[in-house]
């Protein structure tokens, strides 16, 4: 069991799905049964990842294994620094656990899809897309540097584009894919700039080297503000991928993809990539950056939870619930509860995958009906789906004896401690509110779907339990939502192996004055304990202890309240929902929530419309201003009035319309000169000569 074996195995795990992808792409048409090979390959990758995880945790528990080689070396380059770019993989405990989670869920989704996608005309291609997607995600998990992270990041974006738009004949699916890709690119700009800041300062992409440099007091451009900026900019990538406000809009739309894809993308992989990225850069986040992250996460979780309350599409509810839970994790990282964030990432991956696959099972048996208002009473028809769905719902609601309770409780305790230490009480308040909302809307979903009387008898009569290949993954995932896999004590994760020995908060590298000081080891426990083991101040540890029980009790209370309300509303019908929303105030809230607070519409009105107007503005210039400048001043006046009219119509709301105006301006100045006549071209050249000569002469 040598380290190099682990490295090699990880590389094999990484490339196995890619090999499957290539085979299917090349030979898929000739051998339609090849998808079985893809399933087999991913199962092998899973088996290997179990082995790697076991060996790592058992034999190298405290050691990070790094395998790297120099990819680009500018050797004897004549500029000041020698540049070496390394590629490589880093295997620490977080990596192997993620490896396990990603491979497990990917494998289950593969198996599940065999039945779910049967009969699709691009059946084998679907499996090849799953393969390339898994490959990209494993790349993100394994990389030890920002460059590979960025490359695989883009690959994930690309392959998610293919998967979300898999049914591209549907316009909505193609649009959703495009939206996901473009929205993600917006986040990636920030990430790219952040990486560039770090790279120009440290001449390397490798995480550990960067962190070591920061720890040595070497800040980017000598200022902690730049470090904050770099942290926030890289975090922007996570905002895109993990669907945080304001870039969360792509995720609900992405439900247009096949349901197993939603399970894969939105439970364990793509969206988790953002959280994973933040855990990777966690140690270099300054206090300001962390506060930004916490606020973004909290706000996202709140806004998504409120939207989820009223959605009627089964997948939309789950989508907003995902956004909300991701906000939770991000918030948790922001308040410094690193371990619980990662813990929640793992537990959430299992129960959310189970929920998505369960909803897929329902949709499948209901012949692609997704509206929960047309469901009901499915409990009898689909017992396995129901029970697994229920267990996962209990888990996500944070009821004791489930994994969700453990991780959620930890996060809430973290926010409570954060509130006490910094005075930002709003964050724990949001945390508990969201916990209550989550319990409510998840039980609303369960009750409307499975309980009560069937509301669409025609579809209900055809409903049936799904075949074994679909319910077996559900059972596995539901089982993994039980506390016993994580800790022997169902009320406290602290005693469990996950918390006590597998994942530990890494030690911060940022300078003391840029950090929440309670997260740094204070003087007394550096002397008392072993340096490197204890990473928090005594104050923080004590506060966490203080927060533990209040958080647990409070979370139990709010979860109970949420569940109770859900039952009151939908099961026992004690409160009439329709009556409730007739009230003017509640109706406004209801409409707002149902319409997702009009965020999409706002983007449509600004960003998308602006871009469209750019295009039409340009074509307008084509048609109207061909000989504009040459035909005298009357024409010019008209143009000016048209421009000002155009300006009034389109260029008033916000930044993106400014871009439209700007490109329109360029169109006015240059594009009209592209008249096809040589002499106008030459006039421009000579005019430029004048400008240049004026500029360069010391007159």
């Amino acid at each position: 069991m040598s380290e190099s074996l682990l490295i090699n195995l990880s590389i094999i795990i990484l490339f196995l799905p890619l090999a499957g992808f290539i085979k299917v792409v090349l030979f898929g048409k000739k051998f339609p049964k090849l998808y079985l090979l893809e399933v087999a390959i991913i199962s092998i990758a899973f088996a290997l990842s179990v082995f790697v995880m076991y060996s790592k945790l058992a034999y190298y528990n405290t050691k990070d294994i790094i395998g790297a080689f120099t990819w680009i070396s500018t050797g004897n380059a004549p500029f000041s620094d020698v540049l070496n770019i390394e590629l490589g993989i880093k295997i620490d405990n977080v990596t192997v656990i993620m490896l396990f989670v990603v491979n497990l869920i990917s494998m289950l989704v593969h198996i599940y899809s065999i039945e779910y996608m049967r009969g699709d005309k691009r059946y084998t291609r679907y499996f090849s897309y799953l393969g390339i997607f898994t490959f990209s995600m494993l790349g993100i998990v394994l990389t030890h540097n920002l460059l590979m992270m960025y490359i695989f990041w883009e690959l994930v974006g690309l392959s998610s584009y293919l998967l979300i738009g898999f049914w591209f004949e549907k316009k909505s699916a193609a649009d959703a894919a495009k939206k996901a890709f473009i929205v993600n690119r917006i986040g990636d700009i920030g990430m790219f700039i952040g990486i560039l800041i770090l790279f120009t300062s440290y001449k390397t992409f490798t995480f550990d080297t960067i962190f070591a440099q920061i720890a040595a007091g070497n800040l980017p451009f000598g200022s902690s503000a730049w470090l904050t900026a770099a942290g926030i900019l890289v975090f922007m990538g996570a905002v895109g991928k993990s669907a945080q406000f304001p870039l969360h809009v792509w995720l609900p739309d992405a439900m247009e993809g096949p349901t197993p894809v939603s399970a894969l993308i939105h439970a364990a992989t793509m969206v988790a990539a953002g959280v994973y990225l933040v855990t990777r850069i966690f140690v270099m986040l300054t206090a300001d950056a962390m506060l930004v992250i916490a606020v973004v996460g909290a706000f996202t979780s709140l806004i998504a939870a409120t939207i989820a309350l009223t959605q009627n599409d089964i997948k939309k509810v789950l989508a907003y619930s995902t956004v909300s839970q991701l906000g939770y994790m991000i918030m948790s990282l922001g308040v410094g509860a690193y371990v619980f964030a990662f813990f929640h990432l793992v537990t959430h991956a299992f129960f959310k995958a189970c929920l998505f696959l369960g909803s897929g099972s329902v949709i499948h048996s209901m012949h692609h009906e997704q509206d929960i208002r047309n469901m009901g009473g499915l409990k009898k028809k689909m017992p396995v789906t129901y029970w697994t769905f229920l267990i996962s719902t209990i888990a996500i609601s944070g009821v004791p004896l489930t994994s969700g309770f453990l991780s959620k409780d930890g996060i809430l305790a973290g926010t409570l401690a954060f509130g006490k230490l910094t005075g930002h009480w709003l964050i724990p308040i949001i945390g508990f509110t969201v916990a209550a909302l989550t319990a409510f809307y998840m039980f609303r979903l369960v009750i409307l779907t499975f309980h009560g009387e069937p509301r669409d008898h025609h579809k209900f009569d055809h409903a049936h339990e799904s075949p074994l290949v679909m319910i077996a993954p559900l059972a596995v995932l539901a089982t993994l939502s039980i506390f016993i896999f994580y800790t022997p004590n169902p009320l406290s994760p602290d005693a469990g192996w996950f918390m006590s020995s597998w994942v530990k908060t890494p030690e911060q590298v940022t300078p003391v004055d840029t950090r929440f000081d309670f997260l740094k080891p204070s003087a007394e426990n550096i002397h008392g304990g072993h340096h490197g083991e204890i990473v928090h101040s005594v104050l923080y540890t004590e506060t966490m202890h203080w927060a533990h029980y209040p958080a647990m009790i409070l979370s139990l209370v709010v979860a109970g309240l949420g569940i109770l309300t859900a039952f009151m509303f939908y099961q026992w019908k004690k409160i009439n929902v329709d009556k409730l929303i007739e009230n003017k105030f509640t109706n406004a809230l209801y409409r707002g929530s149902l319409n997702k607070w009009k965020i999409d519409e706002a983007y449509d009105a600004t960003a998308i419309n602006g871009t469209l107007q750019t295009g039409s503005g340009l074509s307008w210039f084509d048609q109207k201003i061909v000989d504009g400048a040459v035909n005298g001043s009357a024409r010019l006046t008209r143009i000016v009035s048209k421009i000002s009219g155009w300006f009034d119509t389109y260029a008033v709301d916000g930044f993106v319309n400014f871009t439209a105006f700007f490109s329109g301006f360029i169109g006015l100045s240059f594009r009209k000169l592209q008249t096809g006549k040589v002499q106008t071209y030459i006039v421009l050249v000579v005019f430029s000569v004048i400008i240049l000569l004026l500029f360069f002469k010391p007159f």
Partner: protein
């Protein structure tokens, strides 16, 4: 200084092409089947020269009394020119029949233009630059209009010719002013005494006029006007050659003339100039390309914006950004030639089928072509790990190194805009149903040109160090 026979042997790349041209003329005159022989002959010539150049990169020497330079930077440029021309010739074999100009002179003109480029890249004297430029340009004028029965080709040739010779006037006038203040046309003298000269306004004006001429050749805004018209009107393979190797040659001259600046011996007085044309070209090219429906015209605007990214490197003007430009040029050459090869395969007779809606549903018609086109589009958009990404990356890092962070940021923004129209092609190929039915005849040579370009693009993207190591080793010679 008498030249020895040894010096002639060191001129091997020039000799191969030069003797090749003469032999080609002989073949063309004497053989009836010259149009079958000449493409293969050209491919062999170009391949031999490319191979010779890249293997003799370390044999750096200045020959004939400071007239020609071999090895070093010129060797890398020769590699790009010859390999690019080889790929263009490969894709021409099938294309010319469709285009109606199936004759041997075409290949002789391509050889001559490559000789011109090599002279430009290897010149150590302004006179050589001038002659190389004219040799290249005259061949391009003819190649643009080689099918004289097509009005579009006529127009492209005439516009290119009038604007090209107009800027030649500027270049000569600029050279006259440079000569008047320095008393010589030697570039080495220029490099050594640049700081002293750059306080002389007549010298600066001369250099400005000279730079304007070459800004025209690299297709930078505001000297870009000829580009869309000429690229659209010329034969597709010729456009592939002009837009890649022609641009590379013009950049090689700019790099030679400004050597003194980027080796940091003298202040970068042209930083504002190059920053301005960089910003203008990047944004103008990207924005106008969005509204284009003809693929050749779209790639013309894309070529303008790429000139802008490369000009960022000239504005930065340190060794890092210059190696970045050279890398970028190599990457750009192969991805653009690849894209134009695909276009030349799809294109029908009489210049038909160059609009973007022809590409709808290409994936179902010919998945291999669609996959390669997607690869080239991703590479042009600068999405990692394709070669285009590293080109931009090195240039931008060079800009940051020279405290031009704002320029790098604008570059990143502009490349984000440009993703839109490259992605549009991919969307058409993969997510739209075919509008018209037509048979795609894929000539095997054209396809091999596409495949080789694709492999090179991927290789430069995955292992940029291979090429970059060569470039950084010679960039300050």
């Amino acid at each position: 200084m008498p030249s020895t026979i040894n010096e002639y042997f060191q001129l091997m790349p020039f000799l191969i092409i030069g003797i090749g041209i003469i032999l080609s003329v002989v073949i063309e005159i004497s053989s009836k089947s010259s149009k079958e022989i000449l493409p293969w002959f050209s491919i062999i010539l170009f391949f031999a020269t490319a191979l010779y150049s890249i293997t003799n990169i370390s044999e750096h020497a200045v020959l004939f009394g400071g007239m020609v330079e071999v090895g070093g930077k010129p060797a890398i440029f020769n590699f790009i020119f010859n390999l690019g021309a080889m790929l263009v010739v490969m894709s021409s074999i099938g294309y010319l029949k469709k285009y109606g100009t199936y004759f041997g002179e075409y290949y002789i003109l391509i050889q001559s233009s490559v000789l011109g480029m090599m002279v430009m890249a290897g010149s150590k004297d302004i006179l050589m630059i001038f002659l190389g430029l004219e040799l290249m340009s005259i061949c391009f004028y003819v190649l643009a209009g080689i099918n004289r029965n097509k009005l579009g080709a006529n127009e492209a040739a005439m516009k290119y010719f009038l604007l090209g010779s107009f800027t030649t006037g500027f270049i000569v006038y600029g050279i006259a002013l440079i000569y008047g203040t320095t008393g010589t046309t030697s570039i080495q003298n220029l490099i050594d005494n640049f700081g002293e000269y750059s306080s002389n306004i007549i010298f600066v004006t001369g250099l400005i006029l000279f730079l304007i001429g070459f800004s025209f050749k690299i297709a930078a805004v505001p000297f870009h006007m000829w580009v869309p018209d000429v690229y659209q009107g010329s034969a597709t393979t010729v456009t592939g050659l002009m837009s890649t190797t022609g641009k590379t040659a013009a950049f090689s001259v700019l790099i030679i003339m400004l050597t003194s600046i980027f080796t940091l011996n003298s202040a970068n007085i042209f930083k504002p100039y190059f920053s301005a044309i960089a910003v203008l070209s990047m944004f103008f090219g990207s924005i106008v390309a969005i509204s284009q429906n003809n693929l050749k015209r779209m790639l013309a605007y894309s070529s303008i914006s790429h000139a802008g990214y490369m000009a960022v490197g000239l504005a930065a003007a340190n060794s890092y950004s210059i190696s970045g430009i050279i890398f970028y040029l190599a990457a750009y050459a192969f991805m653009n030639i690849g894209a134009f090869s695909v276009i030349s395969i799809i294109e029908g007779e009489n210049d038909s089928r160059t609009d973007i809606n022809v590409y709808a549903g290409l994936n179902s018609k010919n998945p291999v072509l669609a996959a390669f086109m997607a690869l080239f589009m991703f590479a042009l958009a600068g999405i990692p790990p394709m070669a285009g990404f590293f080109g931009k990356y090195y240039v931008f890092v060079g800009a940051i190194e020279s405290n031009l962070t704002w320029l790098a940021i604008l570059g990143v923004i502009s490349s984000m805009i440009s993703v839109y129209f490259y992605l549009r092609v991919i969307v058409f190929m993969y997510f739209k149903d075919a509008e018209e039915n037509f048979e795609i005849e894929v000539a095997p040579y054209s396809l091999s040109s596409v495949v080789i370009s694709g492999v090179l693009v991927l290789m430069f993207g995955l292992f940029p160090d291979m090429l970059l190591r060569l470039i950084t080793a010679v960039v300050s010679l």
